[in-house]
């Protein structure tokens, strides 16, 4: 067995170029499969990371049912009393941030910028996993009194103030001036492609009084005590809100409770489908590589007919000749597999860097690809090897 292996290696070394070309199909196939799967995993991970940067235990409650992109059924907004009720009656809730939001143009000095202005409480920061890069949160007095202060995101700072330190400066929002008291740590693009840093937050009361002009609350961001209890919290909140909104048993909810896990799942399922599809295409190239090996092995058997004749005449058994050629094919294909794994590792690291995805080494897919390439050697090497083993020694010796 060992000597047969050495024999096969010698045979491969004897014809380096041809051996390499034979392996190329497997190399490319394995490299493609592993790269696709690795990048797919990276993409899924990236989405999960970004969604969880919203807060993995976050629930978003909105009035109305989502009917599709941008469309919601008409439903009454929430009031502060709803917020208080949830806070008091659902023990699983850690913090709750009532929010109102408007897209509007804000001005500082000679510059203006269109952004989303949100009115909320300090809980908005914790529920959204925001950190302050500079400055401070709202004080109790500012929240209660609805004072004109705001915390801004990195994009707003850049667009309005350039290189300047924004703290203590003021921004004009819909006819009133608002002092910048805090700057958020940059989060970058969200998984949905929007710029999370393009934001301005002010106390809820300030926004209600000076922008929306009502006591309405358009959404609730709720962070739950424990990620594991998120489903239970969802049920309790749903029940409470149904009761408070006087929804009878046979009516549908006129509000929706969304958790970030659902968003993650929807997005990753898309990536998974893509990964599977691309992986399948790559697997086809592995198959083609296998056929390449069979082709070369058949040529090799014909070319080495006389050698096979000598071996048989000397007393090699059928299965010994079979084994020799089979091992040659397997060594070729698994060598291709190993080179493919190396190539895939390089390509995955490179592409992950270019595409700004995390590089996640997946041992399972590497081992699986290697075993698969070896299996291809067995499957596609068997037919040529059997042909070699079944040659008639007399004819084979006569072969020129």
């Amino acid at each position: 067995m060992w000597s047969t292996l050495l024999l096969a290696l010698r045979e491969i070394r004897r014809n380096v170029l041809r051996s390499f070309l034979t392996m190329l199909g497997i190399v490319i196939g394995v490299a493609a499969v592993i790269t696709m799967v690795t990048l797919g995993k990276g993409a899924t991970q990236a989405i999960a990371d970004q969604v969880s940067s919203l807060g993995s235990n976050l629930l978003i409650v909105r009035p109305g049912q989502r009917l599709g992109p941008g469309a919601t059924s008409a439903a009454p907004p929430f009031k502060m009393a709803d917020v208080v009720a949830i806070q008091e009656q659902v023990s699983l809730v850690r913090s709750i941030a009532p929010t109102v939001a408007r897209g509007m143009t804000i001005v500082a000095g000679a510059r203006n910028w269109s952004t989303t202005v949100t009115g909320s409480t300090n809980a908005w920061l914790s529920t959204g996993s925001w950190q302050l890069a500079a400055g401070r949160e709202f004080s109790d007095a500012e929240e209660r009194g609805g004072q004109a202060v705001c915390i801004i995101g990195e994009t707003v700072r850049r667009e309005l103030f350039g290189g300047q330190d924004p703290l203590g400066l003021s921004i004009r929002v819909k006819g009133f001036s608002c002092e910048v008291i805090g700057l958020l740590v940059s989060k970058g693009q969200s998984a949905f492609g929007s710029d999370q840093d393009d934001t301005l937050v002010m106390p809820l009361k300030t926004a209600q009084r000076r922008i929306t002009g009502s006591q309405d609350i358009s959404a609730l961001r709720i962070s739950v005590q424990d990620e594991a209890a998120i489903d239970q919290a969802k049920r309790q909140i749903t029940l409470l809100l149904r009761e408070r909104r006087n929804i009878t048993d046979n009516e549908d909810d006129n509000f929706s409770v969304l958790d970030t896990r659902q968003i993650t799942e929807t997005l990753s399922s898309t990536t998974k489908v893509m990964t599977t599809l691309l992986g399948a295409v790559a697997a086809v190239s592995l198959l083609v590589g296998g056929i390449g090996i069979m082709n070369i092995m058949l040529v090799s058997v014909t070319e080495r007919t006389r050698e096979i004749g000598i071996r048989l005449a000397i007393g090699a058994l059928e299965r010994e000749v079979l084994l020799q050629f089979l091992i040659e094919a397997v060594v070729l294909s698994s060598l291709g597999g190993i080179i493919g794994i190396g190539l895939a590792t390089a390509a995955s690291i490179g592409l992950a860097a270019v595409m700004q995805l995390p590089y996640l080494f997946d041992p399972a897919i590497n081992v699986l690809s290697f075993l698969f390439s070896a299996a291809i050697g067995v499957i596609f090497g068997y037919f040529p090897a059997r042909r070699a083993a079944q040659l008639d020694p007399i004819d084979a010796l006569r072969h020129e």
Binding site: S3, R14, R306, E307, G309, I310, R311, L312, A313, I314, G315, A316, L317, E318, E320, P393, I394, L397
Partner: protein, 236 residues
Amino acid sequence: MNADQTPLIEFSQVTKFYGRGTAGFQALRGVDLSIAAGDFVAIMGPSGSGKSTAMNILGCLDIPSSGSYLFQGVPVEQLDRNQRALLRRTYLGFVFQGFNLLARTTAQENVELPLLYRGEKRGARHQAAQAALKSVGLEGFAHHTPAELSGGQQQRVAIARAIVTRPQVLLADEPTGNLDSQTSNEIMQLLTELNHELGITVVMVTHEPDMAEYARRVIHFRDGRVERLQHNGGRD
């Protein structure tokens, strides 16, 4: 000498028919012959006389269409492919006209090849190959490939490969066919030595009467039959 009554090789009414029906070809038409252990036999005959066919059957590479071939009393025609391969690797050594060495493979490795199939250990293979190369006068050529050796040297490597397993019979098919006369005589002397000193039975096909002179007996084939037997008193 071996006083055993059973000859090493015994053909009785061996025929060989190739092909089918009228398109077929009757290569052997009832051959009787027997070769005792330790003999040195040359087989001669014009082309188409059946001597190569007889040689293939002798070497257990082929089986008779009818009749019987007893090798050491074993009916070869009843053995399957693998059993015949085992018989070849244990008792027979082959030398061919075209040398048939593995290209790009050293003399040492060529000679070790039959031992590899017999499952000999690395050390034992190495020693046996060295000894075999020495006995054919090729000490110091162990690491030459066939391309680096002359025809006579290649044939010596082939002979070393044939005898490395200490076979009962050495079957040589036109061993001097590709060699000049001086080298041919050297090879024949080597075969004679092996026959005398190691007691290996030698059966050789040739069409050169000079070479057949080295044998103790000559079997002449014609038209698929044994035409006559000739005893050489000569060169012993």
